[in-house]
């Protein structure tokens, strides 16, 4: 009689087969998929490049600044880069549908640019990275953060050292 129970259950539940590719596919929220990079919050520490086991991430210095490239055809979706990124600039999305024809092979890349800027204090050319200010007491206000960001690394350190802490 067992098969009758299974039969009844199957009638009620319908087929287990996923509709994909004729319908949408089930995608878990935390599926490890394509890498996404946000240059605006990147600190430029290059930890992601160092921890990537497949060497999928490359930074390069160009006249315009520092470029970021993540090659989806090399990335193994391990999530190391997101785990070690101190500023949450790199994210793993749950986008898994990366299949492509071979002609598009070299377009499968996440590209970003951290542009150069001129330091407002000393005039030196430096990268416009997001400053990582830990343990500032009280925490930096939005204006202070923008001021820190507009400086080169040396002037940033000077700015933070000379910052007046309200009593």
């Amino acid at each position: 009689m067992n098969f009758l129970t299974i039969f009844a259950r199957n009638l009620k539940q319908g087929p287990q087969t996923e509709a994909f590719p004729l319908g949408p596919a089930f995608t878990p929220e935390r599926l490890r998929g394509r890498i996404e990079f946000n240059a605006a919050t990147c600190e430029g520490c290059r930890i992601c490049e160092r921890v990537c086991p497949a060497n999928a991430i490359r930074f390069a210095k160009t006249p315009d600044g520092m470029t970021f490239d993540c090659w989806h055809n090399t990335c193994v979706f391990c999530g190391n880069c997101e785990f070690y990124c101190p500023t949450d600039a790199i994210h793993q999305t749950n986008d898994w549908d990366l299949s492509h024809v071979n002609a598009d092979k070299f377009d499968m890349v996440e590209h970003g640019l951290i542009p150069n800027q001129t330091c407002v204090e000393c005039g030196a050319t430096a990268l416009n990275t997001a400053p990582m200010v830990k343990n500032a007491k009280p925490p930096l206000s939005t204006e202070e953060y923008a001021e820190v960001r507009a400086r080169c690394p040396k002037c940033r350190a000077k700015y933070l050292k000379n910052r007046k802490v309200p009593a």
């Binding site: 090399t74 979706f77 299949s99 024809v101 071979n102």
Partner: protein, 145 residues
């Protein structure tokens, strides 16, 4: 006259799929087996079926970074597959070498030796991604036939 297009319509319905393991870690092969054998994914809905002999194959799925040791065997097997064939590289290994890139023992990327038509990146790609790749391959195969 009308017979030849009819043959073509019948022939383009159901490609046979063949798997070549070019030194893969088995991750991709497990996913390919999952794609074919588990009712949840069921690639036979697309009319495909795995076959045991390269001589019957239409679409060939290659996994693995083409290690130096299997290179000759893989190339010989690839030659045995009749034209027109469509090649799908499954996993990042055959596409770029993936985690094994720049090793002395692998010859990736595989498209230096074998013409590749569709790439399915992932380590391993999930079954749905393989199905998406096979669907692209079937479209290419219908054009070629």
């Amino acid at each position: 006259m009308g017979l030849i297009p009819n043959f073509k319509n019948i022939a383009t319905r159901s490609p046979w799929i063949y798997r070549i393991n070019a030194g893969s870690c088995n991750g991709c092969d497990v996913e390919m087996a999952t794609t074919a054998l588990i009712p949840r994914y069921d690639i036979e809905r697309l009319g495909c079926q795995y076959c045991g002999s390269p001589k019957h194959a239409d679409i060939v799925l290659i996994s693995g970074p083409l290690t130096v040791r299997v290179k000759d065997a893989v190339l010989r097997m690839y030659e045995e597959i009749p034209d027109p064939k469509v090649t799908v590289a499954v996993g990042v290994c055959p596409i770029s070498g993936g985690i094994f890139r720049e090793s002395y023992a692998v010859l990736a990327p595989i498209d230096q030796y074998i013409p590749i038509d569709v790439n399915v990146p992932g380590c391993p790609p999930r079954p749905q991604a393989i199905i998406a790749g096979v669907a692209k391959a079937i479209a290419i195969w219908r054009e070629r036939l």
